[in-house]
Symmetry: C2
Subunit: 300 residues, 2 copies
Amino acid sequence: MSLLVTGSIGIDTIETPFGTWRDVIGGSAVYFAFAASYFTPVRLVGVVGDDCPRPLLNVFDGRDVDTRGLEIRRGSRTFRWHGSYMKDMNEAQTVEVSLNVLAERAAKIPAEFLDSKYVFLANTHPTIQRETLAMLHAPKLAVADTMNLWIQTQRPELEKLLAKIDGLVLNDGEARLLTEKKNLVVAAHDILKMGPKFVVIKKGEHGSLMVSQRDIFVLPAFPAQIVVDPTGAGDSFAGGMMGYLATQGNLSSATLKRALAFGTVVASFTVADFSLTALAAASREQIDDRWQEFKSAMSF
Amino acid sequence: MSLLVTGSIGIDTIETPFGTWRDVIGGSAVYFAFAASYFTPVRLVGVVGDDCPRPLLNVFDGRDVDTRGLEIRRGSRTFRWHGSYMKDMNEAQTVEVSLNVLAERAAKIPAEFLDSKYVFLANTHPTIQRETLAMLHAPKLAVADTMNLWIQTQRPELEKLLAKIDGLVLNDGEARLLTEKKNLVVAAHDILKMGPKFVVIKKGEHGSLMVSQRDIFVLPAFPAQIVVDPTGAGDSFAGGMMGYLATQGNLSSATLKRALAFGTVVASFTVADFSLTALAAASREQIDDRWQEFKSAMSF
């Protein structure tokens, strides 16, 4: 079933010990959509300015991504992010960020997208996330991401969102900030009380944790030998997870677990090179092969 | 088959956000032996001074641990360690350490222990580890632990040891120090070139990684809600792992994986309270139940 994603589309500059790439395509919705498109048709909703070089947006050519929701807004400037992993490959330091068009009104959702059953609200202001969700006719599964900024400054709005969604994806630091609990299992249970049916906590190179009323599921990261650029790993993870879920039509424990494993594996491709380079070079068959490899690296 | 362990026996003082416990039993060989005794008879070799309160050593009463190799040396003082987890529950800060008897000659291995087939050389000077191993008649599986101090100051001696052992267990920081490789999979492969057939890298709350020429195996930690005192987690992990291996008589991929999972589960009991309190309260049945729970929390 088709999957809607709203989130950022940006121009990134990324410094790592392996080099610096300037003005490459990035943004949460871009990584998510690209990753999810290996599994299911994706509907992308986002906005860039008219300064965005057209070739950057060609990244979706030949992919099963419907870009009718990609607005190129005249007179606005594209979101830009400059990050550095020189100090810590597991956590980006923001060198510079310009919200630009992201600080304006949200992108419009095309009428043709309003029947979407699966929706991922990538990180943005929780009010926009909630309003986006409210526009959809009958979503079957709504999952959101969030970040420190909203937890700290938009708590009441975030809580309204949490009451409306089925799943929340966030990283370990954000889960601790949201709940003021250090232990991640305890934090996840606190988040469940706020509304979501399941919580996925991303721990970067240390894997992930999924907690629902019914299950606790823990996954290490794929034991990759090459990590060149971690940018987009979390959004690729969410894309792989949601992409797989959209093909299944159920949320059984087994389905959720397999979905998390697909998210893990897709993210392992993303981090092997800058921007979308390595993920774009992967085939669905390679993803499935690595999923099997991951399964056998963990099962006992 | 019976399993020999040599390593430290000490008196610990441990500060955590949950309180401070003074003068409790600790040491690598103690945690290891206790953990392994759930699986197989254990032969303990270690030395304390005559200052060691007798009740501390009663911890093995009723356990399948042969303490004929426990030497109480007259005129010597017991190893003491005072650690704090106030800053970081995943890494102890040493407040004070007194090697005392550990800085003297090694404990003698009783003649009855020399036929041991399984041996764990818990962390100590690599020369002592190598000499201990050389004394055994025909060990079938020899695994060692090490630490930063020896990697930095006894490199040639450590390399001689590595050439003689089947397995090395160490933590992530130590693996990086030993190989000067940041990526743990790459580091593990470098260590394999130094001699061991398999390397287990412990990542504390982030689980573990096992690498051999044949396999890569990754495990998260057990998703525990209560971590009160992480002291001894690594040694309990090694004890559970080696204890299980000693019952199997083979080193197949499947056996090694199950052994690592037992190590993980046993360690999850250890950290739930100070010193050996929580592990000692666990039954073998509870360990097996949690092993199943862990398996289902990971399998997909």
